[in-house]
Amino acid sequence: MRKIYITSALLSLLGLADALYLTIEHLTGQTVRCTIVSGCSEVLASRYAVVGGFPLAGIGAAAYFTVFSLATLAVFGYRAAGTLLTPMLAAMFIVSLWLIYLQAFVIRQFCQYCLFSAAITSALLLVVVIGRFVLKPASV
């Protein structure tokens, strides 16, 4: 499982960088401006971009950091961390699906950074599920 956890840690760093970038853009008001190349302004200016006063991207960054922490601990043999990784990623995946639904059918604009984040979450879940339930731990 070690390789699976290392891959998860590296993937979560990509997600963390993406979410962090969006958070900074959100906080400084840069992405909220409409631009030619993306619908991020529509997505980030929507009421769904803030949850309980916090930018959703910031919550995403915290989630990716949590995944990174769990995966890193799992690499070093903390079994409980590895066990927590799957439900954590499953929850993130469900949230990602909900956010894609909002972009497609409610806001009707796609933000490429949000799509990238959804792709990373999907890849993370896939890697962990394959590692835990498809491949035998001994062969990984």
Partner: protein
């Protein structure tokens, strides 16, 4: 050592994340860059802000005559590059109206078309409708209607009928309006404004220049924008 190594790695990543966030937040320009046209009435002894020491980038002219509100000799000239379908532009619209009412003849406002195609599917149609109304001297009336009702029309499949309805409401010659919407003159005006925007480095909307200096996006909420205008007025005295 092996037991604490993962915690060290986690702390290092946390530190890097927070550090880069702090650095990038701090490096967002606090003072506007100097671009575009000079102030319309800069007196020789006027107090210059530090930003004025930055190199001036001259933009190409936009559509002429420009759509302006307020006297040409107003000490503060505000030039907005806007997209009628852009939500932040819709939010900035009442703020600018508030400033116009508050500062009266001390400010002159110019609107430049900057439809973000293809991000906004109806932006060009909206800009064309406003420009066509402008040919019947009702640009600002149409501008206000389109912004005020942004939420109502932006989700429509075909907006031509909606804008035609606005033209009727404003008492325009609707046949002429419909002809003008697709005319070369209207398209050229939009193109000229866009060309000016690109020459000034406009990348998104709303982008606002005050006496030739770009006002940072985060200073466009009413409270901050009012302070920026007051400071500019004080500098011109």
């Amino acid at each position: 050592m092996k037991r604490i190594l993962p915690f060290i790695i986690i702390l290092v990543v946390l530190g890097l994340a927070l550090g880069s966030a702090w650095y990038l937040t701090r490096t967002v320009p606090a003072t506007p860059a100097v671009v575009g046209q000079p102030a319309p009435s800069t007196s020789p002894g006027s107090q210059a802000s530090p930003a004025i020491e930055q190199p001036v980038v001259a933009g190409v002219p936009g559509a002429e005559p420009a759509h302006t509100l307020g006297p040409a000799n107003a000490p503060v000239h505000i030039e907005e590059f806007g997209d009628f379908e852009c939500p932040p532009c819709g939010l900035f619209h009442p703020i600018l109206k508030e400033m116009e009412a508050e500062f009266g003849n001390q400010i002159q406002v110019t609107f430049r078309e900057f439809p973000l195609v293809p991000t906004h599917q109806h932006a060009l149609a909206a800009a064309s409708a406003a420009e066509a109304a402008g040919l019947q001297n009702k640009f600002w009336e149409m501008h206000d209607l389109i912004y005020d009702r942004q939420q109502a029309w932006k989700t429509q499949f075909d907006v031509r009928g909606v804008f035609e309805g606005y033209a009727k409401e404003l008492g325009l010659d609707v046949d002429r309006f419909n002809r003008d919407v697709g005319s070369d003159l209207v398209q050229q005006r939009i193109f000229q404004d866009g060309k000016r925007g690109h020459s000034l480095g406009v990348k998104g909307t709303p982008t606002v220049f005050m006496n030739g200096r770009e006002v940072p996006f985060e200073q466009l909420p009413a409270e901050q924008f009012r302070v920026v205008i007051q400071k500019e007025l004080a500098a011109k005295k």
